[in-house]
């Protein structure tokens, strides 16, 4: 199970990074979403998988019986999912505004922030 999840994490990171390098703004944002989810799964996998042993304390005991699933990474992931969700929503709204302002979603055409006195290589239009 660890191996399967580790492979999934690797694929999510690779796909996320690949999409980040694309020129389409939408793909960049999808790439960010994949990366965030990859990081969440990474925490989950790296902290160790325990099946079917929730960290519940039996009546009359002070600590749950080992082995039990570590609740801390799950709390971390829960927090990270919420934060990631908010940030992705913001990034999408921002990308939409950029599209409205510039009429393009090609990252290479977003050059109004560069110094106009420095000449840049000509960019072919995206197909």
């Amino acid at each position: 199970m660890e191996l399967l999840l580790a492979l999934t994490v690797g694929i999510l990171y690779a796909a996320g990074l690949y999409l980040l390098l694309r020129r389409s703004l939408v793909k960049v944002i999808v790439g960010l979403a994949l990366l965030t989810n990859g990081a969440n799964l990474l925490i989950f996998t790296a902290a160790g998988l325990v099946r079917g042993r929730p960290p519940l304390v039996e009546a009359g005991e002070n600590v749950p019986q080992a082995p039990f699933a570590d609740p801390v990474p799950q709390a971390l992931i829960l927090t990270a999912i919420v934060i990631g969700f908010g940030l992705q929503a913001f990034a999408m709204a921002l990308a939409y505004r950029v599209y409205r302002e510039s009429g393009s979603e090609d990252v290479d055409s977003l050059r109004t922030t560069e110094d106009p006195s420095i000449s840049l290589p000509k960019v072919e239009a995206a197909e």
Binding site: L20, L25, V28, L32, L35, T36, G38, A39, N40, L42, I43, A46, A47, G48, D70, V72, P73, L76, T79, A80, I83, G86, L87, F90, A91, L94, A95, R97, V98, E101, S102, L110, R111, T112, T113, E114, D115, S117
Partner: protein, 496 residues
């Protein structure tokens, strides 16, 4: 007494919520934001006074003992940083009162400024690695919205680049946190310090350390990860650019210094050598970018990068003197850089442009402004007896003591180029005759412009002419960083 640690956070949270409640009344928002910032300066001053003699204040949130709960820690370094955040927060809010338009105010500019400073203070005070991530996100979300507020194509594009790069940085940070937890089973920084030291010295910890270096390096705008900074900062209005320039990259530097003095100190020969050469590259590329540009805000943006190199250089040398130099440099830089962006805003208001070609004659028409520009500009270049000189002197001396003469040569050379580009702004904008393209009736800057500029300039003079107490505080803070045992004992209780 330990509740004091949370006071700056409580003050900022209260004022942002109060300002949010009066979203439709900009005047009341201004008053609340100003009051909140003044109260924050007071709270930070109290915190600084309590930690001044080397005491480390610790608050265990909810009374959960460390390392199980979330810990807030105020050592001298953190207190100094909170004080600096409070000072520039107050200055930026004052400057905003005179310049920010009604549209931005209606969309919650002041509450967002308060939340931003809240996130910054939280990042300085936390003693828990995941909590640091959360505070980073708090300040990032606030900065994203402030960056994008107001619209216009350049600002939207700048905000997009800023957001995308910072999100990547957050993912790397989170991955590092996950891997570190997997290896040690703890997130409390004091506890991590012990566990990482006990862990086997294999490549795993070094790889995790490099993840943190990359994540914080993006936030701090270190070479080669700085590209988002000059592409975004100059698009924002002057008070926003000033606050970001002064504070945000320094949070990244603070996080770097914190994790690389407290947690990742087992393989110093490897990690800190990488930081050393990255610092040198950061200094050089930053200053070359600054020299090649002719737009006041762009020049200043590139200088931020250049000076981040100085701050991380102190970390890389890893001696008490070098870290003291770094801390003094951070303090000097935050005050001076914020001020320079304020003055750039006033120059734009008077001359109608940030382009040096279109500017001129300001020394004749506004001699007071020229004098006020002179102080931070030449402090930045390290001219004695201004504050930048002492910061650079400490770093140069530390580099000489460590025998890093190549780095030392770069420090001095970069200082010279800094002087060159500051002189360029001074000559072009102030000394050369007016080009005649200035707006017919420039909007005259008023009290809300000159008060923060004058105040920060006065602070620069104090830091320069009365450097001794500040240098000794920086030295004490650096000693605390070099002896993590004190931090660990304060957080975890007496060593078992």
């Amino acid at each position: 007494m330990s509740g004091l640690v949370a006071l700056p956070l409580v003050v900022m949270l209260a004022s942002s919520v109060a300002a949010l409640a009066f979203l439709r009344y900009p005047k009341i928002q201004e008053a609340i934001a100003l009051t909140g910032m003044v109260a924050l300066v007071g709270a930070a001053g109290w915190l600084l006074a309590e930690t001044w003699d080397g005491e480390i204040l610790v608050l265990q949130a909810g009374n959960w003992p460390a390392p199980f709960g979330i810990t807030l820690v105020a050592d001298l370094f953190a207190s100094i940083m909170v004080m600096l955040a409070a000072i520039v927060g107050l200055a930026a809010t004052m400057y905003s009162v005179g310049t920010i338009d009604a549209d931005r105010e209606r969309y919650g500019y002041y509450p967002l400024m308060n939340i931003l400073v809240l996130g910054v203070c939280g990042a300085f005070l936390t003693g828990d690695l995941f909590n640091l991530y959360v505070w980073f996100e708090v300040l990032l979300v606030a900065s994203f919205v402030i960056m994008a507020l107001g619209g216009g194509r350049p600002q939207m594009e700048g905000a997009l680049k800023y957001v995308a790069l910072n999100l990547v940085s957050s993912v790397l940070f989170l991955s590092g946190v996950g891997l570190l937890y997997a290896a040690t089973g703890t997130l409390n920084m004091a506890d991590l310090s012990q566990r990482v030291a006990e862990a086997e010295a294999d490549g795993y910890m070094t790889a995790v350390a490099m993840l943190f270096l990359t994540a914080f390096g993006i936030k701090a705008a270190m070479f080669p990860l700085f590209f988002w900074l000059p592409a975004s900062y100059h698009t924002a209005p002057a008070p926003v650019a000033a606050l970001f320039a002064g504070l945000l990259t320094k949070v990244g530097v603070y996080a770097l210094i914190r994790v690389f003095t407290l947690i990742f100190t087992t393989d110093v020969g490897y990690t800190h050598t990488i930081i050393l050469w990255l610092s040198v590259a950061t200094m050089v590329t930053g200053v070359l970018g600054a020299v090649s540009h002719n737009d006041v805000k762009r020049i200043l943006s590139f200088h931020i990068i250049s000076q981040i190199g100085y701050m991380t250089l102190g970390l890389a040398l890893f001696t008490p003197l070098a870290l003291a130099g770094s801390i003094f440099y951070i303090g000097h830089h935050i005050i001076v850089k914020t001020n320079l962006f304020f003055i750039a805003g006033v120059i734009r208001r008077l001359g109608g442009s940030y382009e040096l070609v279109h500017l001129g004659g300001l020394a004749r028409s506004r001699p007071a402004l020229a004098a006020l520009f002179f102080i931070p500009a030449f402090s930045l270049s390290g001219i004695p007896p201004l504050s930048g000189f002492f910061a650079k002197f400490a770093l140069v001396r530390a580099a000489a003591e460590e025998g890093e003469f190549v780095a030392l040569a770069f420090v001095l050379g970069v200082g010279l180029l800094t002087l060159l580009s500051m002189t360029k702004i001074f000559v072009e904008a102030f000394l050369k005759p007016a080009s005649g393209e200035a707006p017919a009736a420039p909007a005259s800057p008023g009290f809300w412009h000159y008060a923060p500029i004058g105040g920060l300039a006065a602070l620069t003079l104090v830091l320069g002419f009365a450097a001794e107490p500040f240098l000794s505080a920086a030295t004490e803070a650096a000693d605390q960083l070099m002896e993590p045992e004190r931090y660990i004992a304060a957080v975890l209780g007496e060593p078992q």
